[in-house]
């Protein structure tokens, strides 16, 4: 891995974001609307349920940001004609995307914090976290897990011009399967199995564990098990994305189909 390329990818993404920061708005809106809908349906409810809704909204925001940033970053390279030079350079696409993903993850974190603040200001949710330091650590870990899924999905954006198709396909399923707003136990058993292989589901579980007093974790495991599973699954997702990306890169270089429309 070329750390120089990762750093350059991070810097480039940061410059692009600062030049045009309005793109954070779409990834804020939908998760925030979902949180608001949940709070309105609950009406006058307070306590852990409100906290759960707000935390879930924050996670949805992180996911939306990760997904859309991953899809658009490649789509714009294609449109701007910078994708081919990137492919021809000796640097691996994976390294460039990793750097960009790190920036997107950072913005995702700000996105989540922004949702917490806005929810607090509008609803006066009185966010009181049981273990604030532990919660912040779990938030970072959840973000890492979301990014690992985002990295795997972003391989499809390298392969195809239909990035928007894939981003819309993957957006809602993760909202549902991650258990961000509604516990996984509400899903049919077959869908619960899919949730268990998604690292964000464990991340959210760990977040709730450290934020909500008396929270009963997914499958009754301890927070340490959550952390272990997040790390293992995220590493597996990252390895898978590295392997798929290498294959995709080789293929589009061999048949010259990188920017075919």
């Amino acid at each position: 891995m070329s750390f120089r390329a990762v750093k350059a990818g991070f810097r480039q993404q940061a410059i692009q974001f600062i030049t045009d920061p309005q793109w954070i708005i779409p990834s804020l809106i939908l998760p925030f609307l979902f949180t608001m809908v949940m709070l309105f349906i609950y009406r006058d409810v307070t306590g852990p349920i409100v906290l759960q809704a707000v935390l879930g909204g924050g996670v949805l925001g992180m996911w939306a940001n990760t997904l859309f940033a991953s899809s658009f970053t490649i789509a714009y390279d294609r449109m701007n004609g910078t994708f081919e030079p990137m492919l021809c350079s000796p640097t691996r696409i994976f390294d460039i995307l990793l750097g960009r993903s790190l920036w997107n993850a950072f913005i995702g974190l700000l996105n989540a914090i922004l949702i917490f603040i806005v929810a607090e200001l509008i609803f006066g949710t009185g966010l009181s976290l049981m273990n604030p330091i532990g919660f912040f650590f779990m938030l970072i870990l959840t973000l890492f897990s979301l990014s690992s899924v985002g990295m795997l999905i972003s391989t499809s954006f390298v392969f195809t011009r239909m990035g928007s198709f894939f981003s819309s396909i993957f957006e809602y399923p993760i909202y549902v399967l991650s258990g961000a707003l509604v516990p996984i136990t509400m899903l049919p058993t077959s869908l619960q199995y899919i949730s268990y292989i998604l690292p964000p589901a464990w991340g959210i579980d760990a977040m709730k564990y450290s934020a909500i007093e008396g929270y009963e974790s997914m499958m009754g495991v301890s927070v340490y098990t959550d952390i272990l599973v997040i790390l293992i699954l995220s590493a597996l997702f990252l390895m898978a994305s590295f392997l798929v990306m290498s294959k995709v890169e080789r293929r589009i270089l061999s048949d010259g189909s990188a920017t075919r429309y």
Binding site: W23, F40, I41, Y42, L181
Partner: protein
Amino acid sequence: MSETTTLQVLKATAKNSFINKFTLTPPIYWLIQILVVSFFSMYFFVILADYVGNPEVTVTYVVVGNAVQSVAITTLASVSQVPGTEKHTGTLGGLIQTPTPLFTIFLGMSTVGIFTGFCSMLVSLAYAAFIFNVSFAACNFLSVAIIMIFTCLSLTGLGLMVGSVGIHLRTSAIIANIVSYIGLLISGVNFPISYLPDWVQIISNCMPLTYAVEATRSAVNGASLADLWLQIVMMTVLGIIFAIIAWYSFRFFEKKSRISGTSDNF
């Protein structure tokens, strides 16, 4: 422009919109997108309603609301992004040079968006019946069909109004995103609008989607067209108002863009 020319432009741009859409996204992927997004967006709120357990917000209530909302998301998002997409691909300048008003061009280009919205609602209603077990035994299908058509048309007016801003701004995607999804919150899709603060309810009453959701729920319960005249009239009136505003808005931004030569500004 003569009437014949306008019709020719509408026909040509409508045809072009389908060619563009299905060249970029093969029909099978387009269909998968509708099937997956419609299902999960509906399912998300179904389990949410189930989990919350508010007796006023039943699964049927949420399913029918989200079936109609799927039209809003698809129609509004695709229609309002048309001008912004032309700008991004560098073809807006060329379109402004033609003698045809931009409104006519973009109205034609919206056809594929309207068609997609219509298909989304059909798919969503099928999910409602076959997966979420919503009873259509009393349903007045003619009323539902007419409401679907009026919903798509009234939202097209709103979409064009929003999209016209895309000629001036760097992109219309962001404002389109806000307008497409705001219905989830303010149009009675997932909970009665009486839950909202009074000032938000005023905005709700200016949204065609609010009437579409209300009318569809009534039609599913057997209401005839005669029972739904008020909602249909309101959708028509709002659709026409939005279309008129869009017409003037397109003219305004078109003129501004010609004078200042900013059609390709980012």
